[in-house]
């Protein structure tokens, strides 16, 4: 096995590291603590480097960054704790539109997405359909040249700062659920759309969005009528390797090591000298190396042009489950002070331990719960019977 990245990817790594040193300031990181998991200035700077367009596959007219270069970029940004949700959305939606969208969408949306000026919120999940995403009930009905949309979406994160929503709707109730779906990219300023905040335990802000007789033209449809599942599959395809989620723990581990090195227990001993702390830190560092193996494997597969599925599922499962475990360990090992909230002067490492503890549970839920992910591994890799 050859574990080395090609020279151009290593050079790009150096460039990304320099970019992070210059632009990922404490202000950028702390801006996301206000709830919105996106920083426009930082996002725009990534776009200005051409990295959003660079990530779009060259056969779609993108800038032709290789899969291994993208892997390096996403790794470095995650290790540094940069807010990259918006980056993933921009790259994924632009790629899907370029592959399967009409000219109107390509001209209206893609340039603004890749220049970092606009965002699209994902509108898949509904109050009654989460993991079972194909059970969506939001209705789109043709009325002359227009579509009329009624329904509700949950977890339309970033909708309050985005201009569009990538909306999964039901256009046919007479066929099996996967075959009656249609996607639209709906401008969020369209009359009839209401956005309500959903505040999370992790102090993030997400949204519920409501659609009441929303009328849009057919030019906003993406993919075939009743062909929405193809768009869903394309979105998942482009999400691979871009969406992050392989390295959630390093910013937490770095913060805790800093705390443990400089903090004494009431008996005068240093936290970093405690063998229990040291074993747990090593266990966490091992988990990160395991994540690195998984992440490099998916990068390798992408670089070979292999469509991977279950390999990504294992990465996601392991990274999020181990992160949740780490978040629990490290808040414990800071003692009662670990509970202190962001902004409290006495909070260890600025309250990050509390923040990670609150944030971690969402990572084993969004993008496919651990339970659904285990189902996919059991079926896809081990050939066990499908039970849903």
């Amino acid at each position: 096995m050859d574990w080395s990245f090609p020279p151009e990817a290593e050079e790009f790594r150096t460039e990304v590291q320099a970019f992070i040193n210059e632009h990922l300031t404490d202000d950028v990181i702390s801006s996301t603590h206000e709830g919105t998991i996106h920083n426009w200035d930082f996002h725009k700077k990534i776009a200005d480097r051409g990295w959003l367009g660079g990530a779009v596959p060259s056969e779609l007219g993108g800038g032709g960054k290789s899969a291994l270069e993208m892997a390096v970029m996403v790794e470095e940004l995650q290790l540094a704790g940069a807010p990259i949700d918006g980056m993933g959305v921009a790259i994924v939606v632009a790629s899907v539109v370029l592959e399967l969208g009409n000219d109107h969408l390509k001209e209206t949306i893609v340039p603004k997405l890749l220049s970092g000026e606009t965002l699209v919120s994902f509108g898949y999940t509904e109050p009654d359909s989460g993991s079972d995403v194909a059970a969506a009930q939001t209705r789109a009905v043709k009325d002359g040249d227009e579509w009329v949309i009624n329904g509700q979406k949950m977890w339309t994160t970033m909708a309050h700062i985005a201009d569009y929503v990538l909306l999964l709707t039901r256009t046919n109730t007479e066929v099996p659920k996967h075959k009656g779906l249609t996607f639209f990219i709906v401008p969020l300023e369209t009359p009839g759309i209401e956005i309500q905040p959903v505040h999370t335990m992790g102090t993030e802000r997400s949204n519920a969005t409501f659609y009441d007789d929303v009328r849009i033209g057919d030019e906003w449809r993406i993919g075939d009528i009743d062909g929405g599942w193809e768009i869903m599959k394309a979105a998942l395809k482009y999400e691979r390797g871009i969406a992050g989620g392989q390295f959630p723990s390093p910013p937490l581990i770095d913060a805790f090591i800093d705390h443990a090195q400089t903090t004494e227990r009431p008996d005068g001993s240093s936290i970093i000298d405690d063998p229990v702390v040291r074993e747990r830190l090593v266990r966490a560092l091992i988990d990160v190396e395991v994540c690195r193996g998984f992440a490099y494997n998916t990068a390798f597969l992408a670089s070979e042009g292999v469509m991977f599925g279950v390999e990504g599922s294992m990465t996601k499962l392991f990274a999020s489950e181990s992160y949740k475990k780490h978040s629990k360990w490290f808040i414990d090992m800071a003692g009662t002070e670990g509970l202190l909230y962001l902004g409290e002067d006495e909070a260890p490492v600025g309250g990050l331990l509390d923040e990670h503890f609150r944030h971690a549970p969402v990572t084993t839920i969004y993008g496919g719960t651990s339970e659904i992910t285990r189902n996919l591994i059991a079926e896809g890799l081990l050939g066990l019977p499908r039970t849903r």
Binding site: Q261, P275, V282, Y296, L317, A378, P385
Partner: protein, 338 residues
Amino acid sequence: MYLRLNSDELAIQDIFRSFFESECSVERVRASQHAGFDTGAWERLIETGAPGMCLPEQIGGGGAPLTTGAIVADLVGEFVAPLPFIEHLVASRLLASLAPDHDLIPALISGEKIVSLALQPTEDDHAKLVPAGAIADAVVALKGNDLVLTSEENTASLLRNTADLPLAHQMLNGAETIASGDAAMESFSRARSEWQALMAVALTGLGRKAVDIGVSYAKERYQFGVLIGSFQGLQHGFASSITGVEGSHFLSNRAITALENNSDLGEKLAGMAFLFASEASLNASAASLQYHGGYGFAEEYDIQLYYRRAKGWPLQLGDPGVEYQRIANLCLPSRKVA
């Protein structure tokens, strides 16, 4: 970057898979469990050139990289082979690196004589619980600051144990000193890392097979009128098991590559891979055993062979808690005085 075996490596894997299928069937493994060693299988292994494959060509070895040794180690794990392939490979490389002209080298390269290494700290003239100590013709041990070799006729008797291993104490009186001081310590440390990384690979092969045994059973066994493999309680356990094993696969092979390239990360990654593989393979074996129900506990079923070896193989290095502390000292910063 290329994270699969290349075509040459696949060919090597095919050859050795055939070897293990014919020489290390589960019947043979069971037949040799009291000796912890299958003499006939070792004699056939000699014919493949495997014992000396990773020794330098200049002294008559196969000149293969550690990555080739790892291909065989993975199969050793998959077949829970009663062969001291890893110990012999590591100990003979250690001896060859320090004393390439030693009289014993040609017989070690051919495999006619077996060498192992003591992984426990030695006490006085005593190396305790030496891996393959009951069957080895020679043992390398670190005694104080000296690296010593004992190659007297082996009269040590096997100590019966969890994993059917040929463990035995070895007396070191009369052992010859091969190297001393830093050279001895550094070479031994390197050998220990190689053992850890190859053991991590073997445990990965063991864990993968343990999942396979459990999954196969779950696809045959009916309860409540349905296949037990249709129960999500089992499916999720298997999915977690195989995820751990795959994680172990990539980390252990990265450690092997780092050692082969003499990377600064070699020692750390070998230790990490070893610790992770130890847990992943035991978790996988324990879950598969559990899903067999009562049969999993029965001697007749093979999964117990894997469960016992998943614990016994890595424990030859001693308490993993001590190893975690050693890795901590390699990777963690020290206290900052305010």
